[in-house]
C-alpha cells in the first residue's frame, strides 16, 4: 500500500521535482536572511550604546538584508507554484488520458460525480500536501533550527528557556487540531442535512404546496438550522478556546524570555543588543510552531486522496492484441453464435446470435427494449468484447478481436439513440471527427441529415454553442446532429441505433433517401422498432429476447405470418401499401 502510494507520487512528480528542489533552496536562503536581520539590529543597538554613530550604515544593512530576504521569499513562492502547477497539470492530463482509455464497462461501474471529485478535489489535496504542507514542515523545521542556532550563539541558557516551550506549544496545537477535525466533521454533516432539506423542499415545491405543508417544512428547516448552528457554534467555541490558550502559551513564553533575558542582562551575561535580538527571534518562532501542528494534522488527509486517485490510475485500460490485423473494412460482417452477458451475475443479453450483413447492403434490425439490439452494435464497435468461446464477429473473415480498436472504430460510424454533444459550436460538433473538414463539408453533412433548415433558424447559425454549456437542442435535433457527425466521416460501415426515434416520420424518410443517394457504397445497419424505417432494407433481422427469430426481406417476412407480420399489422402496414402513420 505505502509503496504503491509512493510510486504513484513519484510518477506524478516527474517534471516538477526540480522546481520544488529550487524552491526549497530559496526557502532556506529566505529564512536565513529573515533571521539575520534581528542579529544586525542587535549589533546596531550595542554600537549606539557604545556611542558609535553607525545609524545610517545599520539602517542600510537592515534594508539590504530584508531586501534579500524578500527576493528569496518571492523566488521560493514562485518556484513552488511552478512546481505545484506543473504537478497538477500532469496529474490532470494523465488522469484524463487514462480515463479515456479505460475499459468501457468501467463507466457504468463508477459514478460520474465521484470520478470528477477524485480528479478535482483529491488532486488539489495531493497538490497542497506536496507543495504546501510538506514544504511548510521542511521550511518551519529549518527556520527553527537556524533561529535556535542564532539564539544559542547569543546565550545558551536563554535559548533553553525559549526552547522548552516549543515542543509544548507544538503538541498542544497538534492535539487541538485533532479535536477540531472531528468536530468539524460533525458540523459538516449537519450542514449536509440542512442542504438536503433545502434541496428537497425546492425540487419538491409542488408536493409541498399541493399538500399545504409550508408550515411543516418551515418547522423542519428551522429545527435543522438550529442543530446546524449549534454544531458550528461548538466548533467556533473550540477554535476560540484553542486560539486564546495558544495566545496564552505564546505570551507566557515571551514573558519568560523577557524576564530571564532582563535578569541575564543585569548580571552582565548579555548586552542590551543581544536582548533585543533575542526577543525578536523568540517572537518570530511563535507563529510557525503553532501552525506546524495544523499542517501536520492536515497531512493525514492526503493519503486517502492518493489512494482515491490511485484507484483510477490502477483500473485496467482497453488493450489491443499484439497480432493486430488491419483488414479492408468494406467486406461482409458476420455474427456467428454470439452470446453475451454484461457481468457474470447478469442475465444473458444475446443468445447464440448468427447472421450476416453483406458488404454494401442495408440491414435492418427489429427489436424491442432490452432485446439486445444495441448490445450487438457495441460488440461490433468493441466497446465490449465477446468472451472466449461465446462466438465471434468477423469482418471479411477477420475476427474483430484481432483488429486494433482505433482502426476498427475509424471505419465504423455509429449514431447513438441518445447522442452526446460536446460543449462547442454546432459546426465543431459536426466536424469533430474529421480534422480537415471545411465549412462546405460540414454544411453538406448537415444537409444530408436534414439539419440545414433548423440551423437557419438559429441566431448564430453553425456557430451556435451547444452541449452542457450551450443551447439545449431537442432530441430530434441532437439525433440529426449526430447523423451529420457520422456522415462527414464517410465510413464504410454505418450504424443507426434507433437514431431516428425522435424525428418525425417525414424527416425520417427524407434522411433515408438522402443517405441512400450519397452513401451508396456503405454497409448500413438500421436498428428500430418502426417498420417504416426498416421495410426498405435489403434484409431484416428480427431480434427477440436476445435471439434471432426471423430473417428476410420485408415481403418474405410478411409472408411468414410471424412476429414481423404481426407488428406490421399493429403499425398499420399492409403488404402492398405503406401509409404514414402520423403527421405531427
Amino acid at each position: 500500500m505505502r509503496n504503491k502510494r509512493r510510486d504513484l507520487i513519484v510518477y506524478f512528480l516527474k517534471g516538477s521535482v526540480r522546481f520544488f528542489a529550487l524552491s526549497i533552496g530559496f526557502a532556506m536562503l529566505a529564512s536565513f536572511f529573515d533571521l539575520l536581520s534581528p542579529r544586525v539590529v542587535g549589533w546596531a543597538v550595542d554600537s549606539f550604546l557604545a556611542g558609535d554613530d553607525r545609524a545610517v550604515r545599520s539602517a542600510l544593512t537592515v534594508a539590504a538584508v530584508a531586501g534579500a530576504g524578500a527576493i528569496f521569499r518571492y523566488l521560493y513562492r514562485l518556484f513552488n507554484s511552478m512546481g505545484a502547477e506543473k504537478l497538477v497539470e500532469r496529474m490532470r492530463n494523465r488522469l484524463f488520458e487514462h480515463i479515456e482509455r479505460l475499459k468501457f464497462s468501467w463507466y457504468s461501474e463508477n459514478q460520474t460525480g465521484d470520478i470528477i471529485q477524485r480528479c478535482t478535489s483529491d488532486v488539489e489535496t495531493v497538490k497542497s500536501f506536496l507543495s504546501d504542507q510538506l514544504t511548510s514542515v521542511f521550511r518551519i523545521v529549518i527556520m527553527i533550527l537556524i533561529a535556535m542556532g542564532f539564539m544559542i550563539s547569543i546565550n545558551w541558557k536563554l535559548a533553553i528557556v525559549a526552547a522548552v516551550f516549543i515542543p509544548a506549544i507544538f503538541l498542544y496545537s497538534l492535539f487541538f487540531h485533532g479535536r477540531i477535525g472531528s468536530t468539524f466533521q460533525e458540523a459538516d454533516e449537519e450542514e449536509g442535512t440542512l442542504s438536503t432539506i433545502t434541496q428537497e423542499n425546492l425540487t419538491g415545491v409542488r408536493v409541498v404546496r399541493a399538500f399545504g405543508r409550508e408550515r411543516y417544512e418551515r418547522r423542519r428547516f428551522e429545527h435543522q438550522n438550529d442543530i446546524y448552528t449549534a454544531a458550528y457554534l461548538k466548533l467556533s467555541i473550540l477554535i476560540s478556546a484553542f486560539w486564546s490558550m495558544g495566545d496564552f502559551f505564546a505570551g507566557a513564553q515571551v514573558m519568560a524570555v523577557v524576564a530571564v533575558g532582563a535578569y541575564l542582562a543585569v548580571k552582565g551575561q548579555i548586552t542590551a543588543g543581544d536582548y533585543i535580538a533575542f526577543i525578536s527571534y523568540n517572537s518570530m518562532l511563535s507563529w510557525p510552531v503553532r501552525s506546524l501542528g495544523r499542517v501536520i494534522s492536515d497531512m493525514s488527509k492526503a493519503g486517502v486522496s492518493v489512494d482515491r486517485i490511485g484507484y483510477i490510475m490502477n483500473s485496467k485500460e482497453e488493450e489491443d492484441p499484439d497480432r493486430a490485423i488491419r483488414p479492408a473494412m468494406d467486406r461482409d460482417i458476420a455474427f456467428s453464435h454470439v452470446s453475451f452477458r454484461y457481468g457474470p451475475d447478469m442475465p444473458k443479453i444475446l443468445d447464440d446470435v448468427s447472421f450476416t450483413i453483406p458488404a454494401g447492403k442495408t440491414v435492418g434490425i427489429l427489436g424491442g427494449t432490452g432485446s439486445g439490439k444495441s448490445t450487438l452494435m457495441y460488440l461490433l464497435d468493441r466497446l465490449y468484447d465477446i468472451g472466449e468461446g461465446s462466438g465471434s464477429i468477423t469482418i471479411g473473415g477477420v475476427d474483430i478481436r484481432d483488429i486494433p480498436r482505433d482502426y476498427l472504430r475509424d471505419h465504423i460510424g455509429m449514431v447513438l439513440q441518445e447522442p452526446f454533444l460536446f460543449s462547442r459550436s454546432l459546426s465543431e460538433n459536426i466536424g469533430i471527427a474529421a480534422d480537415d473538414a471545411g465549412q462546405p463539408a460540414i454544411e453538406r453533412a448537415a444537409g444530408i441529415a436534414s439539419l440545414s433548415e433548423t440551423v437557419r433558424h438559429f441566431r448564430h447559425g453553425y456557430d451556435t454553442m451547444v452541449g452542457e454549456r450551450g443551447m439545449t437542442l431537442s432530441g430530434g435535433q441532437k439525433q440529426r446532429t449526430a447523423i451529420a457527425q457520422m456522415v462527414i466521416r464517410d465510413t464504410p460501415i454505418m450504424i443507426f441505433d434507433d437514431s431516428l426515434s425522435a424525428v418525425d416520420a417525414e424527416t425520417d424518410a427524407r434522411i433515408r433517401v438522402e443517405l441512400n443517394r450519397c452513401m451508396g457504397n456503405a454497409t448500413i445497419v438500421l436498428i428500430s422498432h418502426r417498420i417504416t424505417t426498416l421495410m426498405a432494407a435489403d434484409e431484416i433481422v428480427v431480434l427477440n429476447h436476445g435471439r434471432v427469430t426471423e430473417t428476410g426481406t420485408h415481403e418474405e417476412l410478411l409472408k411468414k405470418q410471424g412476429l414481423y407480420a404481426r407488428i406490421c399489422g399493429i403499425q398499420g402496414i399492409a403488404a402492398e401499401t405503406k401509409k404514414g402513420g402520423d403527421s405531427k
Partner: protein, 604 residues
C-alpha cells in the same frame, strides 16, 4: 463584474440587511469593545520591553521585577480573556445572523409562486439560501472585526509613538499611505487573477464531466486524441494563470514585509542617531522597532477586509433579490383574516370541499410567456369527474392543473371551486383539499411514516397501513426491513421508481382529497409494478374529481372527459369514442401510442 454590480449600494449594502443585525447589537457592541481592548494589550507589550531595557538593563537593577511580572501576567490574562470572549461572540453573531438569514429566505420561498420556481433553477435558489447567507454572515462578523482590531491597533500604536517621540512617529506615519496605495494596487490585480483561476477550474471540471459522460461518443467517433489535446490546452492555460497569480501574490507579501523593513530602517536611521546623541532611550528605540515591524500587516488586513466587504455586496444583493421577489398569487387581506396564512391557518373557519370545478371565460398567459395559452375558455367539471389531459411531451398539458391548484391565477376570467372563485379562499385551504401525484415521484429523506404523514400529519399507523394496502405497497414496505420506520434515503433513493410511485399514491390517498391531480410517469417500469400502479390509480380516482396528465392509454380510454393539447392550446375535448370517431389529432396520437405500446408488447 463583482464591483460594477455593487457600486450603487450604500455602506457596503449593510443597511439592506440591518433588520437581521439589529437583534445582535448588544453582543456586537461588547465584541467591538473587547476587540479594542485586545488591541490595547498588543500595543502595551513592547512597552514592557521598554521598561526592561530602560529600567532593569540600563540601571542594572531587578528591584521591581515582581511588580513587572505581575503586571505582565495581568495584561496577558486580560487579553486572553478578551480574545476568548470576543471571538466567541463573533462566532455567535456570525452563526446567529446566518441562521436568521437562512430562515428568512427559506420561509419567504415557501410563499413564492410557481413563476419564481419556473424562472430560477433549483441550484440557483439553493445557493441563495445556503451560501449567500453564510458569506454575508461571515463577512460582516469577521471582516468587520478585522477592521476593528487592525484600525484600533494602528491608532493606538501611533498614539503611543506620538506620546513618546513625535518626530520619529511622524516619519513612520509617512509610510502608511504609501503602504496603503501599494496594497490596493496589488489587491486589484489579484482579484482579477483569482477570478480567472476559478473560471478555468470550472472549465476543467466541465471537461472531466464531458470526458466521462461522453465516453461512448468519444470512442465511437475515435476523437480521444483531439479531446485530450484540447484538455491539455486548458490545463496548461490553468498552470500559466495560476503561476501568474502566485507571482503577483508573492510580490504582494514581499512588498508588505519590505515596507515593514523599510520602517525598521527608518527607525534605526533616525532613532539610532538620537540614541547615540542620548536624545532617546534605548527602550524607546526598541518600542519603535517593534511597532515599525508590526504596523504594516494591519494595513494589509484592513484593506483586505474592505475588499471582502465590497465583494459581499453581490451576495447581499442576491439575498435582497430573493427577499424582494413577490408572489404572483397572493391571498387578500380579508381572506387571510378569515382563513389564515400559510403558516397560521385558521382551520375553524374552513369549509368542506366537494370538488366541482368550473372555468368561466378564462384567458391565461404565463407570467414569463408572450402568448395567451387559453382564451375565453369555459368548462364545467362536476365533482367526481375523471378528466384526462393528453398531448405530446412539452405541449403544455399542466396549464389547466396549474389553474385548478391556483399555482397560477387566470389573466382574465375565473376559476371556481364549488361555485366560488378560488381567490375567495386561502391557498392553504385549497391545497389541503387537493392530492397531487407527480410524474417523477418526490419523496423526502426520512422514514416511510414521515413521508406518508405528509399527506395527513396526524395519521395513525393503522391508517397508513390501510393506505399502503390500497395501492398494494405494503409488501414493498415490509421488504425494507423496518416497516414504517424504514429509511427511504435521500429523495427516496433507496427505493425503485415504481416503489416511490406507489408510496406517493399512498401519501395522496391519506390526504383523502376531494380533487386529485395525477401526473403520470412516462418512464418504463417493469410489468408487475406497472399493473400495480394501474390498479392503484383506479382505486384513487374513484369518487373524486381527478385531473390526469396521461401517458397511459388504458387510463385515458376510461376517462369521463379527454382534453387534447397541442402547443399549449386545447384542440379537442370529449370522450374516447367521440374523439376516435372524429379521426383527428387524438385519433392520430392514440393510434401511434397504441402501435408503439403494442409493438413493445410483442417484442418483449
Amino acid at each position: 463584474m463583482t464591483n460594477t454590480e455593487s457600486k450603487h449600494l450604500k455602506w457596503f449594502g449593510l443597511p439592506a440587511i440591518a433588520q437581521y443585525l439589529r437583534p445582535y447589537r448588544r453582543q456586537t457592541t461588547v465584541m467591538i469593545l473587547l476587540g479594542i481592548l485586545s488591541s490595547v494589550c498588543d500595543t502595551i507589550y513592547p512597552l514592557f520591553n521598554r521598561y526592561a531595557l530602560n529600567h532593569f538593563i540600563t540601571l542594572g537593577t531587578l528591584d521591581t521585577l515582581g511588580m513587572f511580572l505581575a503586571t505582565y501576567i495581568g495584561i496577558l490574562l486580560a487579553q486572553v480573556a478578551a480574545n476568548f470572549i470576543s471571538s466567541y461572540l463573533i462566532g455567535k453573531v456570525e452563526l446567529d445572523v446566518g441562521r436568521d438569514l437562512k430562515n428568512a429566505s427559506f420561509n419567504h420561498l415557501q410563499t413564492l409562486s410557481f413563476s419564481y420556481f419556473n424562472t430560477h433553477n433549483v441550484g440557483y435558489i439553493h445557493a441563495r439560501v445556503m451560501s449567500d447567507t453564510d458569506r454575508i454572515a461571515t463577512t460582516i462578523s469577521w471582516r468587520v472585526m478585522d477592521i476593528v482590531w487592525n484600525v484600533s491597533y494602528i491608532v493606538f500604536v501611533f498614539a503611543v509613538m506620538l506620546a513618546v517621540n513625535v518626530y520619529l512617529a511622524l516619519w513612520l506615519l509617512l509610510l502608511i499611505p504609501i503602504a496603503a496605495v501599494l496594497v490596493i494596487f496589488f489587491q486589484r490585480h489579484l482579484v482579477v487573477l483569482k477570478r480567472k483561476v476559478r473560471e478555468i477550474n470550472a472549465t476543467i471540471s466541465g471537461d472531466f464531466n464531458e470526458g466521462i459522460t461522453g465516453a461512448k461518443t468519444i470512442r465511437t467517433l475515435v476523437v480521444g486524441d483531439r479531446i485530450q489535446k484540447d484538455f491539455e490546452t486548458d490545463t496548461s492555460h490553468m498552470r500559466r494563470t495560476a503561476v501568474h497569480s502566485t507571482h503577483w501574490s508573492a510580490l504582494f507579501t514581499a512588498s508588505v514585509t519590505l515596507m515593514a523593513s523599510i520602517a525598521l530602517s527608518v527607525v534605526l536611521w533616525k532613532g539610532g542617531k538620537m540614541t547615540v546623541q542620548r536624545l532617546m532611550e534605548i527602550g524607546t528605540l526598541s518600542v519603535f522597532m517593534s511597532y515599525a515591524l508590526a504596523m504594516m500587516e494591519p494595513v494589509q488586513y484592513v484593506i483586505e477586509a474592505v475588499s471582502a466587504l465590497i465583494d459581499v455586496q453581490v451576495n447581499i444583493e442576491r439575498f435582497k433579490g430573493l427577499m424582494d421577489s413577490e408572489s404572483d398569487v397572493v391571498d387578500t387581506k380579508e381572506v387571510i383574516e378569515q382563513y389564515g396564512d400559510a403558516f397560521h391557518p385558521r382551520k375553524e373557519n374552513w369549509e368542506a370541499l366537494k370538488g366541482d370545478v368550473e372555468f368561466r371565460d378564462v384567458s391565461f398567459r404565463y407570467p414569463d410567456g408572450e402568448e395567451m395559452v387559453l382564451e375565453h375558455f369555459n368548462l364545467k367539471i362536476p365533482h367526481g369527474t375523471n378528466v384526462a389531459i393528453v398531448g405530446e411531451t412539452g405541449a403544455g398539458k399542466s396549464t389547466l392543473v396549474n389553474l385548478v391548484c391556483r399555482f397560477y391565477e387566470p389573466t382574465k376570467g375565473q376559476v371556481l371551486i364549488d361555485g366560488r372563485d378560488v381567490r375567495e379562499r386561502s391557498q392553504l385551504w385549497l391545497h389541503s383539499r387537493i392530492g397531487y401525484v407527480l410524474q417523477t415521484p418526490h419523496l423526502f429523506s426520512g422514514s416511510v411514516r414521515e413521508n406518508l404523514r405528509y399527506g395527513k400529519p396526524d395519521a395513525t399507523d393503522e391508517e397508513i397501513m390501510a393506505a399502503l394496502k390500497l395501492v398494494s405497497a405494503e409488501e414493498a414496505v415490509e421488504r425494507m426491513g423496518h416497516g414504517l420506520d424504514s429509511d427511504v434515503g435521500e429523495g427516496g433513493d433507496l427505493l425503485s421508481t415504481g416503489e416511490k410511485q406507489l408510496l406517493s399514491f399512498a401519501r395522496a390517498i391519506l390526504a383523502d382529497p376531494a380533487i386529485l391531480i395525477l401526473d403520470e410517469a412516462t418512464s418504463s417500469i417493469d410489468t408487475m409494478t406497472e399493473k400495480k400502479i394501474q390498479d392503484a390509480i383506479g382505486v384513487m380516482i374513484k369518487g373524486r374529481t381527478s385531473f390526469m396528465i396521461a401517458h397511459r392509454l388504458s387510463t385515458v380510454v376510461d376517462a369521463d372527459l379527454i382534453i387534447a393539447v397541442v402547443d399549449g392550446r386545447i384542440v379537442e375535448m370529449g370522450k374516447h369514442e367521440e374523439l376516435m370517431a372524429r379521426r383527428s389529432y387524438y385519433y392520430r396520437l392514440f393510434t401511434r401510442q397504441y402501435e408503439e405500446a403494442a409493438t413493445a408488447g410483442e417484442l418483449t
